[in-house]
């Protein structure tokens, strides 16, 4: 019902002012999910609502089993790594906007995608925003530690640049196997004031979270993480984007696309949240501003992609 009213309203606007960007948007969009878990549903729901509220095109949400149906869509929004892999196998090859996937995974898939139209909204936050969070949360921090693995090593240069921009020093170690993690971590923690977690299937992941958090806590060094769950588990702060926030950005992109859709460059999240673990802050004796204050400051300065 709401959709119909909006569509009528949009029709009136178009009749009055001529064709706006709405009419340029692709007319059929398939949202391909990696899984039917709630977080993918959350994305799909929000994405649909955003587009509907703009009175745009038809959106079909497809579970992994029905991936083949996406082949005829004008645009495929693939949600997660698995869905993106599926979307890149579709024939004919529709343009793909990949969402809810790590930048490292996107780069790998991009390399394999050949001439296909592929863009993405990463789950990773831009390096500048991560360092802005460190600067706002810990104004006295100078040395930021990272342990990089095979995937995250690609970020070394951009992290270095972001650190320099904030007048900070990056203390980095690179490892190639998980056994080397604790030793590298200890060396980094002995020099750095905070530990910046950079996701990597070898270094920072859910299996190593325990060892990393315990070791950092032992060294009395806070961990700056990349997800809300990591903060709950014991990291001190994180800047992250929720599926709903990514959905909003995705809807904005799709709404602005022409026909045939000309995808913009892959990009970092535009909307984001901040999480703080007050218990850990108290225990480490580090006073940290509230989530709200930190978020406002990040939105105010330097936090934009």
């Amino acid at each position: 019902m709401t959709g119909l009213i909006l569509w009528l309203a949009r029709l009136c606007l178009v009749l009055a002012f001529g064709a706006g960007p709405a009419f340029a948007a692709p007319s059929s969009v398939a949202v391909l999910l990696s899984d039917e878990a709630p977080l993918y549903q959350e994305f799909a729901q929000r994405f649909q609502n955003e587009l509907l509220s703009r009175g745009a095109m038809s959106v079909t949400v497809l579970p992994p089993a029905a991936a083949g149906e996406a082949a005829r869509a004008d645009l495929v929004v693939s949600v997660g790594v698995r869905a993106t892999e599926q979307a890149l196998r579709l024939e004919p090859a529709p343009p793909v906007l990949a969402v809810l996937l790590p930048r490292a995974s996107f780069l790998k898939l991009r390399a394999k995608a050949g001439a296909r139209a592929l863009s993405a909204i990463f789950l990773d936050q831009p390096p500048g925003r991560r360092f802005a969070l460190i600067a706002e949360a810990f104004p006295e921090v100078r040395r930021v530690g990272v342990v990089l693995g095979p995937e995250s090593a690609a970020e070394a240069r951009s992290l270095q640049a972001a650190a320099r921009e904030r007048g900070m020093i990056l203390v980095a170690e690179r490892i190639d196997e998980e056994e080397a993690l604790l030793a590298a971590l200890k060396r980094v923690l002995s020099e750095a004031d905070v530990l910046l977690a950079v996701p990597d299937s070898l270094v920072f992941n859910r299996n190593t979270a325990q060892a990393i958090l315990l070791t950092s806590y032992r060294a009395q060094k806070p961990v700056v993480a990349y997800s809300q769950a990591y903060v709950q588990a014991g990291a001190l702060v994180a800047v992250y984007s929720t599926p709903a926030q990514i959905a909003q950005q995705a809807a904005e992109i799709v709404y602005g696309l022409g026909t045939p859709p000309a995808l913009p460059a892959a990009q970092y999240p535009k909307y984001f949240s901040v999480a703080v673990n007050a218990q850990v802050a108290r225990s480490l004796g580090i006073p940290v501003e509230s989530e709200r204050v930190l978020l406002e400051r990040l939105m105010g300065a330097g936090g934009r992609p």
């Binding site: 809810l100 790998k108 270095q160 604790l182 030793a183 992941n205 070791t215 588990a233 673990n277 218990q279």
Partner: protein
Amino acid sequence: MQGERRGRGIRRLTVSLCLLAGPLAHAEQTPLSEAEFLGEVPMVLTVSRLAQPVQDAPSAVTVIDRETLLASGFREIADVMRLVPGFYVGYAAGNDVIVAHGLTNAYFGRLQVLVDGRSVYTPAWGQVRWSMLPVTLEEVDRIEVTRGPNAASYGANSFTGIINIITRHPAQDKGTLLSATTGDPDLRDGFLRHAGRWAGWDFRISAGHREDSGFAARNDSQHTDSLLVRGDRLLNATDSLQVQAGWRGGRLGVGWFGDPLDLARDRHAATGFAQFRWQRNTRPDDELAVQFYYSFDRNREAFVTRVSNPPTTLRLVEDAERYDLEIQRIEVPTPTLRLVWGASLRHDRVHAPAYLGTDATRLNRLQRLFGHAEWRPAASLTLNAGAMVEHNDLTGTDPAPRLAATWHVLRDHSLRLGFSQAQRTPTLLEYAADYKIVLNGLPPFQWYLSPERLPPERITSRELAYLGAVPRLGLSWDVRLYEDRIRDVILADAIGGGTWIFRSGNWFTRRGIETQLAWHLGPTRLHLAHAFVQIRDTGGPVKNAERDLYRTDPRHTFGGLVAHRFPHGIEASLGYYYYDDMTPLGNGGDYIRAYSRRDLRLAKRFRLDGGQAELALVAQNVGAPYRDFMWDAVKPEQRNEFTRRTLVTFKAEF
């Protein structure tokens, strides 16, 4: 081989271009999943793992972390208590450490000592056999010491303080550690630890050997071996399981040279435990934990005395067991209120035919209910209220309440007013002693006896404390003024003919000031602890109670440690420890004069075949010898003379 492999794995970088070659080499790996960002991460740092900020604690707390432990150069965990204000550490024998926070006593302890939540004081004596603990300094993550009673949270024996030893999670110790120490007095320690991950378990297994010859004049050597295993497993995002088991056994020198009724001999001793803990954390500040442990303590001694004709073989058997089940819930119903509550059941069993005069096993059952609330009605005020009700077979039911109000005057400056009451149940040996020596052809000689039904000892403690900090400088300190009124103190009374009986009804009051300062700034750390205590109003039905209680604690105690990490892996530390003169209970009335001791530690870390190694030199008591706990004016064989000890430790980790 392993080390070599790892040596290649780690590449030191100061962000160089070679990094960029990385991803190509691993292009075949499965891509990083979005679950990394959006999925659950198991709760790691939950309330029970986090150190409670000292500023909010309802009692005076001293936290000794791992760096300080290692920098101190101590070999015994107990010695670290020298850095806790008001805590006394003495050696009744080289293999028998006494730790006390008031009422210094060779036999009966008044401290609660926990290792990962497991109570380790013996049911028979109430004292901790520090030398026999299966845990070593290498496994300890930190020690939190509560100065003063806190039975409301920790139950039985939490009378003058609580020592909470928290061991490291195996995930922190991946790899292998080898350590060897040699030095005075004929000391040879070896330690091997391996930790890793196997079938979903983070595990650690360690084996150790300790030996030394103790004080020169005494028969107090120790030769023990230990084994400790721990496994931690995450069952799912909220539940985790911890399993631990440990054992230490060997022989300890006991008795005296030349005392026919207490001859120098070996004690064959073994202790062990098994512990299970299941924990569910649905939020960082919400926890449900169920814990069970079993522990035992087994001692055998025998010697032949030629006082009688024919000679008599005297045997001392002492077996103790403890079964303990506890359930605890932590919840935060509103952002300003935190609740901890739970219940526990314990069985303590003691079989000590010689001491108890019966071949039967004595059982003491304990049931406890406890609750504690921390309420922060305003940002500047924290109120703590807690209570425990404890019932045991010996002395019945007793409540133990505690109340504290902390006013955070400024963000880093607080004032705390506290009140606490606690009881100490007599140990099974105090409660039911019937120690007779029966020699061939002679009438039995009654040595110790408990003719009365002893009520529990009672303490009422009041305190006013100021806590301050300059977090930017890594500096924190607190000053605590307190008064402890201790009633129904149990003492041994000489009733003639060499017989002693345990009697209650003695009393004394302690007033004192405890000050501590900790400064952790970069590579430098400093710990200072001072305590002054004034004992007054002592007395009781036991002969000499007034005098004995008055002089049992040192008036001034001081502990200081400064440590610095220099470049090139060099560490140096200096410890200074002072105790005033005293005549502790249970040392035969020996006057122990004041002493100070200086300890030095110098260590160098270096790389070894891809791993880390450390060579450390420790010199304990670099100055003149001092008299430790026991010093008979006449008999030189009853003198604990602590001369300079030099230790060299080599450690390799890979």
